[in-house]
């Protein structure tokens, strides 16, 4: 199976390649990609250099142009595709029909991957993208169980890629406006969820309140570890109950499901975290490289557990929807 790893900077790209990534995904430093954070991402020159480095080390580079083009500015998204192709990218990851259409019509040699932001989860939707745009790989929404992925793979004729580690969207990707409702900026509108400029940590006698655009997302006792106030990971009150209503503040770790995902017909495993540092990239990629190699060599689950236990992501982890506990 192919290991697809994140890079928010050229340094992270080199770190991922060195740690054993088969492919790196990254984006341009603007709103055309879904990790549009300050100081993150690549200029065209940096991308070209990154592609040269990756290719020299036998790795591929996939460029995420996976936001929805804004009205009156579709040209910027088309230009990003042209630049990615010019830099020698191995594939473009896209979600917007306008961007997919541009790749299909103008870059017939360029591999096209369907972004998770398109949230294509049925054989019919996937079939539409494959037949209309010649999509070669579909990144699966993080709401499917392993059984559902296996059934889906049996009824489609295209590669699939599944997230195995990192941040977890509990909402259907590309269909969530929670962030813009509070802040005016969202993944679809601006390539960013719960944007940092709207975040505040306010200390009072009860501890620290993490707020987004003034809405209290969570509260921490003095000295307790805090979290980033991502809307869907907050504590809220509904029906007189206060709880992590949408999702606990956990991150995805499907390391133990690599062999199940392989059996379900998944082609590539994806690690989330273009906004994370080199240290994260190095450790997670290294662990998954070993685990994937162990699975490919037919090692048992105990061996894989041992490899993954060394991962220092911190915080609580979940297998997300894969284990079907959501149903």
């Amino acid at each position: 199976m192919e290991l697809v790893c994140p890079a928010g900077t050229p340094a992270a790209l080199r770190a991922a390649v060195s740690a054993g990534a088969d492919a790196i995904y990254c984006g341009f430093r603007d709103e055309t990609n879904a990790r549009n954070f300050p100081g993150l991402n690549f200029s065209a020159a940096e991308l070209a250099e990154g592609v040269r480095f990756a290719h020299a080390h036998g790795a591929r580079v996939l460029v995420a142009i996976n936001t929805f083009a804004q009205t009156g500015r579709v040209g910027q998204w088309r230009k990003a595709v042209d630049e990615a192709a010019g830099c020698g990218a191995d594939a473009v990851i896209a979600a917007d029909l306008a961007v997919l259409d541009h790749v299909a019509k103008n870059h017939t040699g360029l591999r096209l991957h369907l972004s998770v932001q398109a949230a294509a989860a049925t054989p019919e939707a996937i079939g539409f993208y494959v037949e209309t745009f010649g999509v070669r790989r579909v990144v699966l929404p993080r709401i499917l169980s392993v059984q559902e992925i296996a059934a889906l793979n049996r009824s489609i004729d295209v590669e699939t890629e599944a997230f195995v580690f990192g941040g977890l969207c509990v909402m259907v990707e590309g269909r969530c406006h929670l962030s813009s409702y509070a802040t005016g900026r969202s993944p679809n509108l601006s390539g960013v969820c719960s944007p940092p400029e709207m975040v505040s940590y306010d200390e009072d006698e009860e501890g620290t309140a993490a707020r987004l655009a003034g809405f209290t997302i969570d509260r921490y006792a003095p000295g307790q570890p805090t979290g980033y106030p991502t809307l869907c990971k907050g504590r809220f009150t509904a029906g007189e109950k206060t709880s992590y209503l949408f999702e606990d503040p956990v991150s995805l770790n499907a390391g133990n499901l690599i062999s199940s995902l392989k059996a379900a017909g998944v082609t590539a495993l994806k690690i989330e975290g273009r906004q994370r540092g080199k240290r994260y990239v190095t450790e997670v990629v290294r662990a998954f490289r070993k685990a994937v190699d162990a699975v490919e060599a037919g090692s048992d689950a105990g061996e894989i557990d041992r490899i993954l236990s060394g991962m220092s992501e911190g915080g609580r982890q979940t297998a997300g929807a894969y284990r079907k506990t959501w149903r």
């Binding site: 928010g8 340094a11 430093r29 940092p196 000295g223 805090t226 080199k278 240290r279 911190g314």
Partner: protein
Amino acid sequence: MADQPREGELPTFVRVLFPPVAIAPAGLLLTHCVRTLARRQPNLFDRLGEWRSARYLVAPSDLAFAFIVVPDGEKSIVHVVGKNSPGSVDVAITGPLLTLLGLLDGTLDGDALFFHRIISISGRTEAILALRNTIEDAELRPADFFGLHGIVARLADAGILNGLSVVRWLIAGRAHATGKL
């Protein structure tokens, strides 16, 4: 309580040894170092975008003074200020000195330190994020700050980084010994 060093902090006597007035000239030296770095790696600061002209307050929790940093390439400024009178800043970052140095060379993971409250941030979060990502990509070594080359640079890097990790280890050991961790 206030006088007791917290996790990862230098011993209290360091604060007494280096009052702000004694350290003020270090601002000139550091300004020179950052500008030298900017001359050698002019693209390094591009990532900061609009935050090049932001005023960052870097306040080591175990020292009596703090730094104001404006990371504007060859126009960069570093000066030493008293902790209680930093003037207006866009964003402030506080934490043990050795931890802050670990962030600079990428030894430590800033996200984890932040969420575990070892460092704290106030003001424009996006400015510190831009700086964090810039530093991440810069892959700075101690020698870069002093404009050193070749074997001297390698020796300086090894000496400084090893020295820092020894001090971190000593402090962690002391904390263990006094049951602080």
